[in-house]
Symmetry: C2
């Protein structure tokens, strides 16, 4: 007689990706694996001032239970920031605080998905979204995706072919894993399709403010005339992830569903963390902090791409992102990134095999490389080693994919 679990638990198990990520945490490893911000850029001293001020001025409130919706002054600031930067028209009531964007993904699954419902996503897509949504046992249908974003003709085809499309998940700005940003034109045509339906769209945007060059296109939300688009934003990549403060923004009535469901999941996000981030935004200039991140991450990206050009076999192709944390490499057909990573880890370099980002599998010849978490000299050293490892697997004469 053994304990019986829910059917969905067959989908949850220790994955080899998690094992790889554990390896990458070892200090001797040069890791391009996780999506961690550079800890040396965290504003520790400023956060200390902030923590003191919160406990001096709002001590009992910051330590007490709070409303599920979150701190009104923080929600107000988030709405204003979004309106200034992304062309949205949000008010405080259009913003709800969540415990990291990961929670928003879980809540969305709970709100929209019955078993067997269809989720449309980019191909590849964020592995954390796959993990959160799969608990609700949907079917993931990948939509063709090119260098400008989701291919709208294929999106239309799949909306029409599939009977029960309940959710569309996209990351139009410096996508995790590919680093690709959707063009403005593509955003418009995507939203023309979406505006003809009543399918909720999760527009996940944790990296958008980390732009090294070029201009920020308007958010999908800014073309939304039916209230279909729910934006996910986060302080994790622009300030610090440890406090787990992120937000969802969208139609007020739709957000109430998130509030009901969130209340049953964790009642509310840490009140102390919310007061601290709100106070940080009052006391300090977040844009100035972001400018510093952009400078450092941009340099690291340049170092990584230059080293990849120098050391990788010429048949390995890779993206050149205008911002965010990741580049994406495609090796020739027949090469298995899991074999490559095992060999690389022996030489103390790690990355994430790209197949994890395809909900329906395949694409073993892809890899995601993070450049935000390692100093430049380590990046160059690690890419050189990875180039040597790749050379063991890829004959120089091998054609690109």
């Amino acid at each position: 007689m053994t304990m019986k679990f829910a059917e969905r638990m067959e989908l949850f198990a220790a994955s080899d990706i998690q094992e790889i990520l554990k390896v990458t945490a070892r200090p001797e490893i040069i890791s391009f694996g996780g999506g961690l911000p550079a800890p040396e850029l965290f504003p520790v001293e400023k956060m200390k001032e902030v923590s003191c001020k919160v406990l001096e001025e709002n001590g009992t409130k910051a330590l007490q239970y709070f409303t599920t919706e979150g701190l009104p002054s923080l929600r107000e600031k988030i709405a204003e920031r979004s309106n200034e930067r992304l062309g949205t028209s949000l008010e405080m009531e259009n913003v709800v605080i969540v415990t990291g964007s990961q929670q928003a993904l879980d809540l969305a699954g709970k709100i929209f998905l019955n078993e067997g419902d269809v989720v449309l996503c980019e191909s590849p897509t964020y592995v954390g979204a796959i993990d959160a949504l799969k608990a609700y046992q949907p079917r993931f249908v990948e939509v063709e995706t090119d260098d400008n974003g989701m291919v709208v003709e294929d999106l239309e085809k799949k909306i029409n072919e599939e009977k029960n499309v309940k959710l569309i998940y996209v990351t139009p700005d410096f996508q995790n894993p590919t680093g690709v940003t959707w063009s403005e034109e593509r955003r418009r045509s995507f939203m023309e399709v979406v505006n003809q339906h009543s399918i909720p769209v999760l527009e996940d945007n944790p990296y958008g403010e980390l732009r090294f060059e070029g201009t920020t296109p308007p958010a999908l939300k800014s073309f939304d005339n039916k209230g279909n688009v729910i934006m996910l934003g986060s302080f994790s990549k622009v300030l610090c992830p440890g406090m787990r403060v992120a937000w969802i923004s969208g139609d007020k009535d739709l957000l109430m569903k998130f509030v009901f469901v969130k209340q049953a999941c964790d009642i509310h996000t840490s009140s102390k963390s919310q007061y601290e981030i709100d106070t940080f935004l009052e006391m300090f200039d977040l844009d100035e902090h972001i400018a510093e991140l952009v400078k450092v991450y941009g340099q690291r990206k340049d170092v990584m791409l230059k080293a990849m050009e120098e050391f990788f076999p010429s048949s390995v192709e890779f993206t050149n992102p205008e911002g965010g944390l990741f580049t994406w490499a495609v090796m020739p057909e027949g090469i298995d990134a899991r074999e490559v990573v095992m060999r690389a880890i022996e030489k103390k370099v790690a990355f994430v095999p790209g197949d994890a980002f395809y909900p329906n599998g395949g694409h073993p010849n892809t890899m995601r490389l993070n450049y935000s978490n390692m100093p430049s000299e380590k990046i160059r050293e690690g890419i050189k080693i990875l180039g040597e490892v790749l050379a063991e697997f890829i004959p120089e004469s091998m054609p690109a994919k």
Copy 2:
């Protein structure tokens, strides 16, 4: 064409309980409604010292992503505390940090429940557990419950009658809502039954350390010889709820399921909050702080019960808890607590109608009264007013239920 939601969303809606709790937050209301700790007892100054120390000594770690399992030194301290006080034999690996006990309830639902599975619970039981678990669409079967806890004969009967009992949820120490504590004898016989099956038991214990008198019985977990019992503990009631730090403890393999599922829900609980609570436990004496809470809450409980004896119609019966935050009152049959609370709110006093704590409804003549969140003079004043309101509904000659 309107947006389509998951079927489970029919179970989520604005409840009148939530409306009542919103009313109770108004400053002019004497509220016996929520389960809020006394904010004037929060160790704000100590927490300020703690926050500074964490950022000085572990700044970058406290602001970075963290493992899902949580901070090892905090998990170690929790295991030791549990072993000293509750007769358990936990190691660090038997403890996982969660974002408030509410999250543990949601995770348990996800791990164990298919639609239509049976959850056994006390009658009445904690409304937050009903809310968390209902998202997984189980059937709640209430087990007969008396002044010593769940009636074991009825538990056995229901385990045998029901085909698919997947989870047992209980709060044996100062239960929310009734304030009742299970006797040691009842715990033993309950566990004799549980040890014959492989049904997971959630032993929820957020209030156990808030004991005004008598001695703490051993935890159900201490009688567990099959790894069926998963304990939920929390810093919310003994320190502060705003930081959302709680834990689950139990069998290591079973906890791994919680870790996989939690990772997809919010990645990890605030690293900063975890370091802060860990540092609080190192710098200060939590027992001393709890002794202060116990003194104040015990006095408030005495004031409330004395006032209820003085001002309530004699036909209203109520519990005399040895600890925790709540007493539970039963009015004569035919009286509706929702009507009573509406009238009470007009007179600026609030409580929670008891029917919310019965997953299958009924019992309109019950009410939960919290005594931790109001000063003694307000408690006496509020109970006097509530006595007047009750007198409007209950003729003095009416027999007890």
